[in-house]
């Protein structure tokens, strides 16, 4: 197949760019494109045309993906053609000329089964592949099979591939390995197998253990019974041992009872009952005796008492008289005192009457008693009068005081000046306060401004290369720091370059001197013959021989020429000498070949060095010029600023400093603006304040007054005005309030005077009713009134006393009558006595009679009591006797005296029985559930003395049994434990599952291993068989190509054998020497690989439809001659198939032009 046309319609950088590749039979087309001209895109276009544009294509940087189009026209060797378009996409990417999709299979006919990959392997070669191919041959030590096969299969590193298979397979499995994947898995599987077996519980073992357990449990059961029996026996014997002494005691007690015979058993309370009955009897007897004695004594006493009955009957009347006697005596005493009082009273009344109402009798005076109403009124008016008088005084005083005060205030007010309006001033000051302390702000700003100005001035003085003012600073243009950096870099580059040249120059000069020295030393060792010398001597010899022949053979006269030939010697001599000289020169050249060569080399070297020095000097001068130019540029960059610049580095720091000053200047401007603003504000405020001052009649300010002072003055004025206004206001308010008070006081005074006038009327009226004169003062009236009271009190007392004396006299008369009547009735013998005396005597008699009557009654009562006690005692005696009789009957005896002995007998008997009963209880208690009867029988049976020994024996047997029991328990426990461990666990099953997992992974790795091992095997087989078949013809073809490509440095290739008898490629020198690949240079290896590739391709073309051979710049490591040879070889190939040679290098074009164009070599430029 041949590509007739490549239409780069829209691909990579190309648009509608057509490449006509139809020329020539097949044709070798060199496609030249410098960098970026699209060589790589064109190269890719060939593959994309044939095999489609890949999804991730990068050739869409001009045309969008969907617009990408490559057109082409192909021709098969049978003459059939196909023209089509290729677009990018997933399907239907092959289009006919008019854009309709066509079947991809239409292309198959032209590709002849070469897949994209195979196409790249067999029909394409680039520089990288070439180098790789050569290096692979070297790496494979030139192993023939591998080298040939690699060249045939596109240059694979077969050695690496084979080693890779081995290594991968070895990583999976090695026969004696441990750490390989499969080895590891196998041992893991073995471990799991063991684990399964460890975890598996054997059924048989389990059965045995279970049977053993059952046996052990049965044994344990029977042992338990034995132990129980033994323990019971020990217990029984212990019990008997314990009980036997008590049983003996019991027998003794029983014998005692036997001996007591028949005994009447008395109840327990018998003795106490008997004692009680006896005690009762004795006590009753005693009571009876005492009662009889008392009765006799009382009867004698009572008979002695006599009672005056008449007196006793009138007891109450006598008592009453006796009481009235006391009252009667008291009244008599009172009458004396009352009579005295009456007399005194009457005398007082007379005195008072004389004073108050002279000439009036007491009785008349009584009717003149003043009425209570009048009295009250006078008192009330008196007190009213006092209060009115006090009011009157106070009102007068208040009035006076107020008037004085008012006058004083009015005077003060008059003295005070009238305040002016301070409002505008206050407002101005307030506004000023809002603006802040302008004066201070201004001062600070001005100070800062000055400071900064000074600093900037200093900075500018320090700024070198600058002599202007700082106003100019802002106006000039200086280069930017980027510009400076650029200059710095450029200077540095230039200088480095120059320095480099300088050092190279120095080196070259040194070398030159060295070479010259060497030449000199060779020359000093003797003249060195040169080829030129030889030519010269030979020419001379030839010339001599020509003259000789002329003279000798032709017989011509050659004297003239001979002289010219050698003016010194004759021709024969001269010719001989020239022959000798030529021979010697030739001999020396041969003999001193080394020196000659060295000398020649040194001469060449010297020339080269000289040339180099000249070139370097020129370069250096150029570099220095360039530096000078740069310097000029640099200076002119600073001209606008008027600065003569230093080095860029220094100027950079200058710029920094300059920048800082600019920044400071900017700040200074801001400060200035601030100052102006402050000053403006101050002026405004000054004007405002000044106006205010003028309005207030104060001194206006002048411009000479400091603003701060002005403000202070204004503030003082404001304060003063405010204070005055406050004082004025205060006085006015006080005067107004005092005037109000004055009015109130005058009113109060008038009210009081009216009250006094009203009182005088009422008073006159009141004292008239009392009979006092009009002019009587209230105090006088009050004294009179109290005397009236005293008089009438005395009068009332007199009346009362007379009344009481009359009553006392009447009561005394009645008492006498009553006493006489009583005496007459009760004790006529007292009738001769004074009534008072008789009454007292009678009462004394009555008292005595009453005492006697009371004693008589007492005795009678005692007698009654004693008689009753006597009767009770007799009853008790009878009862006690009955009880004793009963007890006797119970005890079976006649006489109570024997009761006591009977009681003792009964008690003894019962005590014995009780003891026996306690023993029985004890025995039964200790008997462990046996009946008493049974125990006593057991004791009967045993030999008490042997009991201890028996117990010991049984105990030791018991201990043995228990030891045995512990053993059995332990055994049961451990068996149960073991059986319990088999619990249906799935551990073994899980391990088995795990083992299956491992097997599955081994299975997979085995497949992998098989694949790798067989791949290695197959590849070796393929290589070997390929070698066997192709070694002869291929090596022959490749050898010829190799000879051409190496320009005859090698004459061909052959197969040699290593020590281990492996066939290897070797190069053959024209002289028959053999060179191993290890001895070949990199370039030669490239050529070797290229030879093999081309040979393979030629062989392929012998049997197959041709395919275009795509070559991408493979010759860049070839020198010109070899490159030319390679181009010629490729031209040769193009007779059989189309060759598309892509290159970046113009040199290839030049070389190609030198080749005879008989094979059809066509140059194409990409654009």
């Amino acid at each position: 197949m041949k590509i007739l046309e490549l239409d780069l319609r829209a691909f990579g950088p190309f648009t509608n760019s057509k490449l006509d590749l139809s020329e020539g039979r097949e044709g070798m087309h060199i496609l030249y494109g410098p960098n970026e001209a699209g060589k790589s895109s064109a190269l890719r276009a060939v593959k994309c045309l044939l095999y489609g544009i890949p999804k991730n294509s990068t050739d869409n940087f001009v045309h969008e993906n969907k617009a990408l189009r490559i057109g082409g026209r192909l021709r098969n060797s049978d003459g059939s053609e196909l023209g089509f378009l290729r677009r990018k996409g997933n399907k239907d990417t092959l289009l006919s000329g008019d854009g309709e999709p066509i079947d991809e299979r239409a292309l198959d006919r032209y590709l002849h089964g070469a897949t994209e990959e195979v196409f790249g392997l067999l029909f394409g070669i680039d520089h990288e592949a070439l180098v790789r191919g050569g290096q692979n041959i070297l790496a494979g030590k030139g192993e023939t099979g591998q080298s040939l096969f690699a060249a045939g299969a596109g240059g694979a590193n077969l050695r690496a591939v084979l080693e890779g298979f081995e290594a991968d397979a070895d990583g999976l499995f090695r026969s004696r390995g441990q750490n390989q994947v499969i080895n590891k898995a196998i041992s893991q599987h073995q471990e799991l197998r063991k684990k399964i077996s460890d975890l598996s519980q054997s059924s048989r073992e389990w059965g045995e253990k279970e049977r053993e357990l059952r046996r052990a449990m049965a044994e344990r059961e029977s042992l338990k019974k034995t132990i129980e029996q033994q323990a019971a026996e020990v217990n029984r014997l212990r019990r008997l041992q314990e009980i036997s002494p008590k049983a003996a005691l019991r027998s003794e007690l029983l014998a005692k009872i036997e001996r007591m015979g028949k005994v009447t058993l008395l109840p327990e309370d018998f003795t106490s009952r008997r004692n009680q009955a006896e005690k009762q009897l004795n006590a009753a007897m005693e009571v009876k005796r005492q009662a009889e004695l008392d009765l006799d004594r009382l009867s004698a006493e009572i008979a002695k008492i006599v009672l005056p009955q008449k007196l006793l009957d009138q007891g109450d009347a006598i008592e009453e008289i006796h009481q009235r006697l006391g009252q009667h005596r008291k009244a008599a005493e009172d009458r004396v005192k009352l009579t005295g009082g009456l007399k005194q009273n009457k005398a007082d009344i007379r005195t008072l009457l004389l004073e108050l109402m002279p000439g009036l009798d007491v009785e008349i005076a009584k009717s003149r008693r003043p009425k209570a109403v009048v009295k009250t009124r006078i008192q009330k008016l008196s007190s009213l009068h006092a209060s009115l008088q006090s009011d009157q005084r106070r009102a007068a005083k208040d009035l006076r005081d107020a008037e004085q005060k008012l006058n004083k205030l009015k005077d003060d007010l008059k003295a005070l000046e009238t305040p002016k309006d301070s409002g505008p001033l206050m407002k101005s000051l307030a506004r000023l306060a809002k603006s802040g302390d302008l004066a201070t702000l201004l001062r600070d700003a001005e100070r800062a401004f000055q400071n900064d100005t000074e600093q900037i001035r200093v900075m500018m003085q320090r700024l070198p290369l600058w002599s202007r003012t700082f106003e100019e600073l802002n106006k000039v243009t200086v280069p930017s720091s980027e510009t400076v950096s650029r200059f710095e870099d450029e200077f540095s580059d230039c200088k480095v370059f120059a320095a480099n040249l300088e050092s190279r120059l120095a080196d070259a000069r040194l070398k030159l001197r060295d070479v010259e020295r060497q030449i000199e030393s060779i020359r000093l060792a003797g003249a060195v013959p040169t080829e030129e010398d030889l030519d010269r001597t030979r020419d001379r010899r030839q010339k001599g021989w020509g003259l000789v022949k002329k003279a000798w053979l032709k017989g011509e006269n050659v004297d003239e020429e001979s002289r010219a030939y050698d003016p010194e010697r004759g021709l024969a001599e001269a010719y001989e000498a020239s022959v000798g000289q030529a021979d010697e020169t030739a001999d020396r050249l041969r003999r001193e070949a080394a020196r000659v060569a060295e000398y020649a080399a040194l001469l060449v070297q010297k020339e080269n060095l000289k040339e180099e020095i000249v070139k370097l000097e020129a370069d250096r001068d150029k570099a220095q010029q360039s530096i000078a130019r740069k310097t000029e540029d640099w200076k002119s960059a600073w001209k606008p600023a008027g600065v003569e610049p230093l080095t860029p580095r220094e100027m950079r720091s200058w710029l920094e400093q300059y920048g800082k000053i600019l920044q400071r200047l900017e700040k200074l401007g801001e400060q200035k603006a601030l100052i102006d603003k402050l000053q403006e504000q101050i002026a405004e405020h000054r004007e405002e304040l000044s106006e205010c001052l003028e309005d207030l009649g104060e001194k206006p300010t002048g411009s000479d007054e400091d603003f701060g002072k002005l403000v202070e003055r204004c503030e003082a004025i404001r304060d003063k005005l405010e204070k005055l206004a406050r004082r004025h206001e205060d006085l006015e308010s006080k005067i107004s309030s005092l005037s109000e008070d004055l009015k109130k006081y005058a009113q109060a005074q008038a009210d009081t005077e009216q009250g006094l006038r009203d009182w005088q009327g009422e008073w006159s009226e009141a004292i008239k009713t009392l009979g006092l004169s009009e002019g009587t003062t209230p105090d006088e009236a009050l004294v009179t009134l109290s005397k009236f009271d005293e008089l009438f009190k005395k009068i009332d007392e007199c009346d009362n006393l007379e009344q009481r004396i009359f009553g006392i006299n009447r009561d005394a008369e009645i008492f006498y009558v009553d006493v006489k009547a009583l005496i007459g009735h009760v004790a006529p013998d007292f009738s001769g006595l004074m009534p008072e005396q008789a009454a007292a005597q009678l009462y004394a008699e009555l008292t005595r009679a009453r005492k006697a009557a009371a004693q008589h009654g007492q005795f009678a009562k005692e007698i009654e009591q004693k008689s009753k006690g006597l009767r009770d005692a007799e009853k008790q005696i009878a009862l006690a006797k009955d009880k004793l009789n009963n007890l006797c009957r119970q005890a079976g005896c006649e006489n109570p005296d024997v009761l006591e002995s009977r009681e003792k007998l009964s008690a003894d008997y019962q005590d014995l029985n009780r003891q026996i009963q306690m023993l029985d209880e004890y025995i039964v208690e200790q008997g462990g559930g046996m009946t008493l009867q049974k125990i006593l029988q057991e004791i009967e049976k045993v030999d008490v003395n042997a009991l201890a020994a028996q117990i010991e024996e049984f105990e030791s047997r018991l201990a043995e049994s228990k030891d045995h029991q512990a053993e059995i328990n332990e055994k049961v426990g451990s068996l149960r434990n073991e059986i319990g461990r088999v619990d249906g666990s799935s551990a073994a099953a899980e391990a088995a599952e795990e083992a299956q997992g491992v097997l599955a992974s081994i299975r997979e790795k085995v497949d992998e291993y098989i694949k790798l091992r067989l791949a290695s095997l197959v590849l070796r087989q393929a290589i070997e068989s390929y070698r066997a078949k192709n070694q002869g013809p291929l090596l022959e073809k490749a050898g010829k190509l190799f000879a051409r490509l190496t320009l005859g440095s090698f004459s061909g290739l052959k197969t040699g054998y290593t020590e281990s008898d492996e066939p290897v490629l070797q190069g053959l020198r024209p002289d028959g020497r053999v060179v191993d690949v290890a001895g070949m240079s990199d370039g030669t290896l490239d050529q070797l690989y290229l030879s093999l590739r081309l040979a393979t391709l030629e062989k392929y073309l012998e049997n197959n439809e041709p395919m275009p051979f795509i070559v991408d710049d493979i010759l860049i490591r070839f020198d010109d001659d070899r490159a030319k040879a390679a181009l010629e070889v490729l031209c040769g190939l193009s007779k059989r198939t189309q060759v598309l040679f892509f290159t970046h290098h113009m040199r290839m074009i030049e070389l190609a032009r030198e080749i005879k164009n008989e094979n059809g070599l066509f140059l194409k430029r990409l654009n």
């Binding site: 195979v118 073994a988 078949k1029």
Partner: protein, 419 residues
């Protein structure tokens, strides 16, 4: 009357062929046969069946762990508590099992005699169960032949562990044929031994219920037991009930339309999703077989390990970790029609050599020799069984040829010009 017919419990036999990998549902497979048996017990209890028939193979023959027996015992005890009787005949595996010999079952469990056909009559159900267990591992005579004829007034069930007249993948034990079974006149033949479910005959019912839990890739699909309801002396309903806890499935992925490896993953993902849905999202062990003539062939085969991992990750991802890819097989063919391709003589030679794995006797011999060492080291489990690895078998070499071709093409054909 309701009863369950199950067989081939193979308690504690492990699931096979599941290679562990990151994300594989390891927990889901653990104790699968045990859990399936628990499911059986629960089903019996829930359905209140009268009895359960187990037609042989409780255990795996060479499995020795007595724990397995105890677990079975615990499950039978549960049935005992529920009042459900169990009738078992021992199968070939049980005959070989040590556990069978030593384990005593609770009284609801009845093992039928291994010496003679035994008939159990259950009068309250009008039921007669006939059966005989395996006295030894291999029973080669027709056991059913000796079974008694049907009892006239009973519902007759025959319990038999047999391969019938031969079933693929199962050893031929107690061979018999359908006609022979029919001739006994029983109403229901409860068979065991064959792990695939099969209703061999509708009238009378001759049924293999299959095993209760699939254990490897040749036991795919739902596994369980038969729930049988009988009225008036005839089975009226025989339905399969699933008991398995992890199911086996094959996912055939057609890579025909795939262009790149990712396309294959996507196609596989769809198929897996469908398979999961079909199995109601229960844990699955799936064999993925990627086939078809595809452009992605080279990509898949050049790094099969990578694509296997991608498939596994995808499966884990879409299933939430319940799907285990048992094995992934790439059986694709190259869409590039490699056979027609011109390859130059060197590559042709390589292809010839690969083909030599099938037909070059010397090469095959050399190949077998190269694998010998590994063959000797492999565990016997891998060298035996249903899918034995035979490294000394030329067939193994032949089968590997395609993989060898791919790896060679991948590694050798690198060095061409990158256009």
């Amino acid at each position: 009357m309701k009863f369950i017919h199950a067989a081939d419990i193979h308690l504690d036999s492990p699931l096979m062929g599941l290679q562990f990998y990151e994300g594989a549902p390891v927990k889901e497979i653990r104790g699968a046969t045990r859990r399936a048996l628990q499911n059986l017990v629960e089903l019996a209890s829930a359905e209140k069946v009268e009895f359960i028939l187990i037609a042989g193979d409780l255990y795996d023959g060479d499995w020795k762990d007595y724990n397995t027996g105890l677990f079975l015992f615990s499950q039978m005890s549960r049935l005992h508590d529920e009042g459900i009787r169990v009738f078992i005949i021992s199968g070939n595996h049980d005959a070989a099992s040590q556990i069978t010999k030593h384990l005593k079952m609770p009284e609801n469990v009845k093992f039928l005699s291994v010496r003679n056909p035994e008939t159990v009559l259950i009068e309250n159900l009008d039921l007669a169960i006939h059966g005989q267990g395996y006295p030894a591992r291999a029973v080669t005579e027709d056991m059913a032949g000796a079974y008694p004829p049907a009892s006239p007034h009973h519902f007759n069930i025959g319990l038999l562990h047999t391969s019938l007249d031969g079933r693929e993948g199962h050893e031929s034990y107690a061979p018999t044929n359908v006609a022979g079974l029919i001739s006994k006149g029983y109403e229901y033949w409860a068979l065991g031994h064959v792990h695939a479910r099969e209703i061999v005959c509708e009238n009378p019912r001759i049924v293999f219920p299959g095993n209760i839990q699939g254990r490897h890739i040749r036991e795919i699909g739902p596994k369980g037991c038969m729930l049988v309801e009988a009225e008036d002396g005839h089975p009226v309903r025989v339905e399969h009930r699933e008991l398995d806890v992890m199911r086996w499935a094959v996912a055939a992925v057609d890579a025909g339309k795939a262009v790149r490896g990712e396309d294959v993953i996507e196609a596989a993902s769809k198929i897996l999703t469908r398979t999961m849905k079909e199995n109601k999202d229960m844990p699955l062990a799936v064999r993925v077989e990627v086939a078809g003539t595809t452009k992605a062939h080279r990509e898949l085969l050049s790094n099969p390990e990578r694509w296997k991992n991608e498939l596994r990750a995808m499966a884990t991802d879409i299933s939430g970790g319940t799907v285990w890819l048992e094995k992934i097989r790439f059986a694709t063919r190259d869409a590039m029609n490699a056979a027609l391709a011109a390859k130059g003589e060197a590559l042709d030679e390589l292809m010839n050599a690969i083909d030599g794995l099938s037909n070059n006797r010397d090469l095959v011999k050399a190949a077998v020799e190269a694998l010998k060492d590994l063959g000797e080291k492999l565990p016997y489990e891998l060298k035996s069984g249903d899918e034995p690895i035979r490294l000394d078998d030329p067939e193994t070499v032949r089968r590997a040829a395609e993989a060898v071709r791919q790896v060679l093409m991948d590694r050798v054909m690198h060095g061409g010009m990158e256009l």
